[in-house]
């Protein structure tokens, strides 16, 4: 490889870094002021791309028309951002951060269905940009003119934002609010207006980024989540709330990826290593290295106050399960065991889905309840378990071995990722879990030769003796019941108390000799193992496995189930999984827009019960006493 082609790759990296920075800058700006991590920021980006496509066609050809369409798309997205802030987020500023994040995911689902209805499922190719459609010559290598523009756009936006924040009255207010909201409000800053303005600006940047990206990448329905995951990585690496940090992080990640592509396949000690395939791993390595050295990112500061408003449920007194609960569990088990005799095949399949979802959610409830750690990427461990089981079968292992491998593999993954995650708390932790999950997803999606890529792996059927649906159902029931029993025992035992102690007061826990971080790390790994077991059962129940089993929506499914069922409720995961799975199934049968039904459900839960359903129940109990 010549130096020139190497340089071209680096320039490519700079162009990608620029557009990523535009997205991350808006995200981090909004967070800095409102303390809301806006999951829907990626949706605004996606809308920017789609709107630029439509407006581009409306406005017709020519350079002026093109740039008018880009500007108009960004402005429309800014207006949509304002609507979002005023209609939804404004009501949630006092809610726990975890619920805000969940609510904005509800918006992601709704926006995606709106985009599906408006623009269809096909990718929409962007225009060739007038006067910038060609290439320039760099030492004999062509380089797209448009990418030059992008390379310039990043630093320009950084400069403009820096000027805005440091030199204007608006910037002073933004900094004051970011530093101390209460004080800023006491000094007469119109907080509501300021938040709306900041949100509009952030949305504008997202819309602009999407519109600018259109000539490089067709508008499609998956760009929302893929860009938000990358933007999360950039903001976490750069330090939440830091715009220069986001710029540096975008640059570092963009360049490291470019470097991997530029290196190509290199012979290392006789083994050919294909670096272009390692771009995702490289991103992970960068993030891991930064967070290991600086847990709050390159330019981030450790939050002064605890980073998360705890849910009231986390202060509620937990009464250990007693005889009554044991009888109830036994009765439930018996009823579920008898179900195949009474119900049809369809009901049995649905119940099996519910059981698996319940185990998956129970593992998350363990992490969020006693552990106090909210994961937005718990599906990673579900998926690792599912893939481990599927791969084991593909390589000739028996079902028993495969099912045992599922939690083991997920445990190992959770040990590795958990090491980083438990160094953070609150939304920081949630974003990191999501970033890790997205990396696992990308690996499953792209590593064709092993994981089967987007098609996944098929032909994962249970062993001979469980070959009938009825038998596999009973097997699933037995495993889920056993796992739930073990999980409840752990949560109610000495380890569970230590874990809750670490959550309630890390200061006190350390002062009585408990290792808070190790305790939380162990809990993270255990939760991963149980999620992996659920994943293993899932693989055999479906007979196949695809990257969807570890995508972000599945992580959020588990989260919604936990919120529905309550953080402290013993049977919460089962009841929540029952309600959620049934609703999703019912919605999917009547409309292709079932995702937005789930989205509306999420919004309803969060807006009607801004302290969570469990919190609302606890409040009612207190009132009625």
């Amino acid at each position: 490889m010549t130096l020139a082609s190497f340089g071209i790759q680096l320039l490519n990296g700079l162009a990608s870094a620029s557009s990523l920075f535009l997205v991350a800058a808006g995200l981090t700006l909004i967070f800095g002021v409102t303390r809301v991590v806006n999951f829907a920021h990626g949706s605004l980006y996606m809308l920017g791309a789609y709107l630029a496509w439509t407006l581009g066609h409306e406005f017709g050809p020519g350079a002026a028309a093109h740039w008018a369409s880009v500007a108009a798309a960004a402005l429309v997205v800014a207006a949509l951002g304002v609507a979002l802030e005023v209609l939804v987020l404004k009501r949630l500023y006092d809610a726990p951060e975890m619920l805000q994040l969940t609510a904005t995911f509800g918006i992601v689902l709704i926006v995606r269905d709106v985009a599906l209805a408006a623009w269809g499922a096909e990718d929409l190719l962007g225009p060739r940009v007038p006067m910038l459609a060609g290439t320039i010559d760099l030492a004999g290598h062509p380089f797209p003119q448009y990418d030059v523009l992008l390379i310039v756009a990043g630093p320009l936006v950084l400069g403009a934002l820096t000027w805005l924040v440091t030199r204007t009255r608006f910037g002073v207010l933004v900094r004051a609010a970011a530093e101390n909201r209460t004080l800023a409000a006491a000094l007469g800053v119109n907080q509501r207006l300021l938040y709306t303005a900041v949100f509009a600006l952030g949305a504008l940047l997202a819309g602009l980024a999407g519109a600018l990206q259109l000539p490089r990448e067709p508008a499609n329905l998956t760009m929302d989540l893929s860009v938000i995951a990358e933007a999360f990585v950039v903001t976490v690496v750069g330090g939440l709330g830091s715009i220069p940090g986001a710029f540096i992080a975008a640059l570092v990640i963009g360049l490291v990826k470019a470097l991997c592509i530029a290196l190509g396949t290199v012979d290392i000690g006789g083994i050919p290593v294909a670096f272009p395939r390692l771009t995702l791993v490289a991103e992970f390595v960068v993030m891991a290295a930064v967070l290991a050295l600086k847990p709050h990112g390159l330019l981030g500061r450790a939050p002064v106050a605890p980073p998360t408003t705890p849910l009231p449920e986390q202060r509620a007194l937990i009464v250990p399960a007693g005889r009554r609960e044991a009888w109830l569990a036994a009765a439930l088990f018996a009823a579920l065991a008898l179900l195949p005799l009474a119900a049809d095949d369809y009901a049995a399949i649905l119940t099996m889905d519910i059981l698996i979802a319940a185990l998956f959610a129970a593992s998350l409830q363990f992490l969020m309840g006693p552990g106090g750690m909210t994961s937005f990427g718990h599906a990673a461990y579900f998926g690792v378990g599912a893939y481990a089981a599927a791969l084991a079968v593909k390589h000739g292992a028996s079902m028993g071995v495969a099912i045992a491998l599922a939690p083991a593999a997920a445990f190992v993954a959770a040990v590795v990722f958990g090491w980083f995650c438990v160094r953070l708390a609150g939304v920081y932790l949630a974003m990191l879990t999501l970033a890790f999950a997205q990396i696992v997803w990308s690996i499953a999606y792209q590593w064709n030769s092993v994981t089967g890529g987007s098609n996944g792996l098929v032909g994962i059927w249970p062993a001979e003796w469980l070959a009938t649906r009825q038998r596999y159902y009973l097997f699933t029931l037995a495993i889920v019941a056993l796992a739930a029993f073990v999980l409840v025992r752990i949560a109610g035992g000495r380890f569970g108390y230590a874990l809750r102690g670490a959550r309630d007061s890390p200061l006190r826990a350390e002062a009585i000799g408990l290792d808070v971080r190790r305790t939380q790390w162990t809990a993270f790994a255990l939760a991963g193992a149980f999620a992996g077991l659920a994943g293993g059962l899932f693989a055999f129940s479906k007979g196949s496995i695809s990257p969807e089993s570890l995508a972000i929506p599945r992580s959020v499914d588990a989260l919604v189930i936990v919120l529905l069922g309550g953080l402290n409720s013993l049977f919460g995961p089962l009841l929540g999984a029952g309600a959620f799975t049934w609703l999703q199934d019912a919605a999917a049968r009547v409309t292709e827009y079932w995702r937005s039904v789930v989205g509306v459900l999420i919004l309803a839960i969060v807006m009607v019960f801004p302290q969570g359903i469990g919190g609302a129940l606890a409040w009612r109990r207190r009132r009625s006493r």
């Binding site: 202060r315 937990i318 309630d504 200061l507 006190r508 826990a509 350390e510 002062a511 000799g513």
Partner: protein, 235 residues
């Protein structure tokens, strides 16, 4: 005199260029109640946090029974026999009072069955089944004291033990500390704003000002020290 339980030698700590503590040295012996006083910002809490391992000093050493503990994490120092209360009582909110104590006992490898006796000792026996998050402030402080002494510490650190308590309750934690010092030969180091409490209970007083020890000695001598009067007692 026997070797001190706690020996602090020349500790220094700066935050962002501001010297919070500069070369502070003092000892605390078994059975002794020592007050660490000084105006706001004098470095009392920094000293506490260095002794208890929440902060690593820039310079100096801390030794417990002659063994160095400088820079060890809090939990390791706790296991070596240092108990601590905080300015704002730190307890486990989602548990009953008894469960709080059981967690503390088992974390330090002691028999959880001792929980009720420990609660009785701090005068909180009747609170055993109460939900910790709902306790009155003074009660929470008593429970916290039980957590701090659950590991049978050699040294007890009490950060503002009477802050926020009613005048009537104020002597309770100090009388308990006195008992622990007398009966169990625990060394007690406490910070306190209320001078009645300081001079009513301390065997010895150490006065800090701007990160340095300006005087230490018996309460009567401290009361008479003109330098102390100048910087602290309103001069």
């Amino acid at each position: 005199m026997s070797a001190p339980v706690l020996s602090v030698k020349g500790i220094a700590k700066a935050f962002d260029g501001i010297q919070a503590v500069a070369g502070v040295s003092f000892d605390v012996h078994a059975g002794e109640l020592v007050a660490l006083i000084g105006p706001n910002g004098a470095g009392k809490t920094t000293c506490f946090n260095v002794v208890n391992g929440q902060l690593t000093p820039d310079a100096g050493t801390v030794a417990l029974d002659d063994a160095p503990i400088t820079g060890l994490p809090s939990r390791a120092i706790a296991r070596r026999g240092v108990g601590r209360t905080f300015q704002v009582a730190a307890t486990f909110a989602s548990m009953t009072v008894r469960e709080n104590v059981v967690v503390a006992l088992s974390a330090l490898g002691r028999d959880p069955a001792a929980a009720d006796a420990l609660l009785a000792r701090v005068g909180a026996a009747e609170l055993a089944s109460a939900h910790t998050a709902t306790l009155a402030y003074g009660d929470a402080k008593r429970v916290e004291l039980a957590l701090a002494i659950a590991g049978q510490p050699r040294l007890l650190l009490m950060d503002e033990p009477t802050a926020g308590m009613s005048a009537r309750d104020r002597s309770t934690p100090m009388r308990l500390a006195r008992e622990l010092a007398d009966d169990d030969r625990i060394a007690v180091l406490f910070t306190e704003h209320d001078m009645d409490v300081v001079f009513g209970f301390a065997d010895r007083v150490i006065v800090l000002d701007r990160g340095e020890v300006i005087a230490q000695g018996a309460p009567d001598a401290i009361r008479a020290d003109p330098r102390v009067q100048e910087v602290y007692l309103g001069g």
